[in-house]
């Protein structure tokens, strides 16, 4: 899957990329994939799969999916 790291989530991945390709052998829960990558799911405010907002806990992701995650943002 293609994972777009919104806001601070690049912080948790070595090299701090905006986007990473994550190989998936079989469809998996998004929360489990992110936890495996070292991304704290409690910090996620919005998760988008193929352009649609999804529930983080129940979303199941396949290899061809495009996922975006964002933290809460405020102020400026």
């Amino acid at each position: 899957m293609k994972l777009h790291l919104g806001g601070q989530f690049s912080f948790y991945i070595p090299g701090h990329p905006h986007q990473v390709d994550v190989p998936l052998e079989k469809p998996s829960r998004l929360s489990e994939i992110l936890t495996r990558l070292g991304i704290p799911v409690a910090e996620i405010n919005l998760a988008v799969v193929n352009g649609e907002l999804v529930e983080l806990q129940s979303a199941v992701i396949s290899q061809q999916d495009e996922v975006k995650i964002y933290p809460p943002v405020s102020g400026g």
């Binding site: 989530f9 912080f11 910090e43 964002y70 809460p72 943002v73 405020s74 102020g75 400026g76």
Partner: protein
């Protein structure tokens, strides 16, 4: 007394007389600078119903207790006066270098009264002050004025705070800049300076904060810890990497990116204005405020030239971009440059132009009114032309220079519905239909719609998040969804407003302390006590914030404000037109109920919004009851 110079410089611009006042420790512990000190001075010294542009208006520039301390994000100073935009309590904070330099020059605050017979600027250096002529600076853009002042005083390290031609022309949302890149944008404080014929305040000092501190080693140790913390905090890291323009995409995804004058919550051309585009098209470097390790400021190049005015913040991208339906980053950067050269508040400028665009599209105004300019959403050239007209008060710009509320009254008809303002001040670029406490902040703030009253709702929505855990020591106990106006949500508001108001009194930036960022509440307390030698508790510190808020409230009550002014533009009680929150509106009945609950927590009368005598006494503000005829 430690931690402060305790000196206030008083300047009568009419007579040229100056005096230095020394504050006592007992006083300073209750009103330790910034919003608290400015609020006290305005309430005590500004006669009720003084016209904002009258010489009698009192203009206060006040550092916070910790402004200039060697601690990340403790850089802020406040400028206050009666606001020409709202006719109420006026206030605007800025970071940068000017506040710390003022402290190094020996002063916590400057209080201006009167009006200079001719344009002047004030030169403050190491305990001295001098009023100097500024007729040769009047009418010029801000960059050459800074250069001229530094050259004629012979020191290129002088920090220059100044207005631009917008302030000279009394544009009601004219701002103030320091170092050309930091802004007291809101509430028209630049117009008050202009009305006093005061173009600039130049400062230079050689003192260091460490020599003022009670325990300078503890303060330095905290400063080093926080500098390291910036590198280890995901929130601070993101502010450094992307700065505030990084917010655009996340807000759009959540359906809360104000678009086309708050009609919509998502912008179809967001890819053209989001961070990746900004980074590619504009960014040249990252910059900092005084002693701050975050470095959230952007430097940009426009047409191959590095701008001396810095890059647009999120608010500016939002106001001149999606809110005006514009997807041209180059034009947005140009708009930012114009605002900073003329010194206009970019939020109110963009929002007022968006208001006018909607009036134009509804046929309430036409080409005859707009000097022949097709003022439609998406027309970047029209937007840029209108900024210049506003700053110069030329043609249609003269009406828009009055702000959206006054312009709507003049235009008439439906225009009132399109003016996205509270108490006369335009909304910042945060859509409250997706975060209800932001809406409550817009409604209840003494300065009109302000987005920095409380931490935004999503930061406290997940009990397992770092932001929520870091707020626990403030008393935040139960996570709440963003779109809730529950009693517990109002409890969040009450706690967070005390906290943010404290930050504005002691000089911390919104991007430093938790829950928005990484400095723990306990560490803020350590910094206060290390600076002063006090044994302040968290409750005493939070009372400073609540005291400051109540003084601003009393100021407004004295001017005739009441509960009816704590409301929102009608549009927000109606559904968003697009995006994931399409159709979502702030529920009016729940909003009114929540306001009553919040008044109760604040100790304010539910009908009038007036603080009770009991609450005022508890906040050591019994003296202020007199000014609203309570005894």
């Amino acid at each position: 007394m430690y931690g402060t110079t305790a000196k206030v410089l008083r300047v009568n611009l009419t007579t040229g007389a100056m005096a230095i006042e020394t504050l006592s420790e007992d006083f300073y512990r209750l009103y330790p600078g910034g919003k608290a000190l400015a609020g006290y001075i305005l309430l005590k010294e500004l006669p009720a119903h003084t016209e904002p542009f009258a010489p009698e208006n009192v203009l206060v520039m006040a550092n916070g207790l910790l402004t200039g301390a060697p601690v990340s994000t403790a850089t802020r100073y406040v400028v206050s006066a009666r606001s020409p935009l709202t006719n109420g309590y006026g206030e605007s904070e800025a970071g940068g270098f000017w506040g710390p330099e003022l402290k190094m020059a020996g002063f916590e605050a400057i209080v201006f009264t009167g009006r200079a017979p001719q344009p002047v600027y004030l030169w403050v250096h190491d305990g001295q002050a001098e009023i100097r002529p500024a007729a040769h600076l009047w009418g010029q853009e801000t960059a050459p004025v800074q250069e001229t002042i530094r050259a004629e005083l012979g020191d290129d390290k002088i920090r220059v705070l100044q207005i631009g031609i917008a302030g000279e022309n009394l544009v009601r949302y004219a701002g103030i800049t320091n170092d050309l890149r930091h802004f007291n944008g809101r509430n028209g404080m630049g117009a008050v300076m202009g009305s006093k014929n005061l173009r600039a305040v130049a400062v230079r000092g050689s003192q260091r904060y460490q020599t003022l501190a009670y325990d300078s080693e503890a303060l330095m140790a905290l400063g080093r810890k926080l500098a390291k913390g910036v590198r280890e905090s995901p929130q601070a890291w993101d502010l450094q990497q992307r700065g505030t323009p990084g917010l655009v995409e996340a807000l759009n995804t959540g359906g809360i990116l104000p678009t086309r004058n708050f009609r919509q919550g998502t912008f179809e051309n967001v890819d053209d204005v989001k961070w990746e585009a900004y980074e590619k098209q504009l960014l040249t470097a990252r910059r900092s405020c005084y002693a701050c390790a975050i470095r959230c400021k952007r430097e940009v190049a426009i047409d191959g030239q590095v701008s001396v005015y810095g890059g647009p913040e999120y608010e500016t991208v939002g106001a001149f971009g999606p809110d005006c339906g514009i997807n041209d980053l180059h034009a947005i950067a140009k708009a930012n440059e114009l605002c900073n050269a003329f010194m206009l508040d970019s939020i109110s400028t963009g929002a007022t132009i968006a208001f006018a665009m909607e009036c134009f599209e509804h046929g309430l105004i036409g080409l005859d009114d707009t000097d022949g300019i097709e003022l439609r959403f998406g027309n970047a050239e029209a937007m840029l032309q209108m900024i210049v007209r506003i700053a110069r008060r030329q043609g249609f710009g003269d009406l828009l220079a009055e702000g959206s509320r006054r312009a709507a009254e003049k235009i008439g008809g439906e225009a009132k519905f399109f003016a996205m303002q509270v108490k006369g001040q335009e909304l910042a670029m945060h859509e409250p239909r997706g975060k209800y406490n932001v809406g409550m902040g817009y409604a209840i703030s003494e300065i009109g719609a302000d987005h920095l009253v409380v931490a935004h709702d999503p930061t406290l929505a997940n009990p397992d998040s770092l932001t929520f855990k870091n707020a626990r020591s403030l008393g935040i106990a139960v996570a709440q969804p963003p779109r809730s106006l529950s009693d517990e949500k109002m409890n969040h508001f009450y706690i967070l407003e005390r906290w943010n108001s404290l930050e504005k009194a002691i000089g911390y930036c919104f991007f430093g302390p938790a829950p928005r960022s990484f400095i723990l509440p306990e560490e803020v307390l350590v910094s206060i006590n290390a600076a002063t030698g006090w044994d302040m508790t968290m409750e005493e510190a939070l009372q400073i914030g609540e005291r400051a808020t109540n003084m601003a409230r009393i100021f407004n009550l004295r001017e005739g404000f009441s509960r009816k002014d704590d409301t929102l533009p009608e549009r927000l009680f109606q559904g968003l037109e697009n995006g994931p929150l399409q159709g979502n509106a702030i529920p009016r009945d729940e909003f009114e109920h929540a306001l009553t609950v919040l008044y109760g927590l604040k100790g304010w009368d539910p009908e009038t919004g007036q603080p009770t005598q009991e609450r005022l006494e508890a906040l050591s503000l019994g003296w202020a009851a007199d000014s609203i005829g309570m005894r």
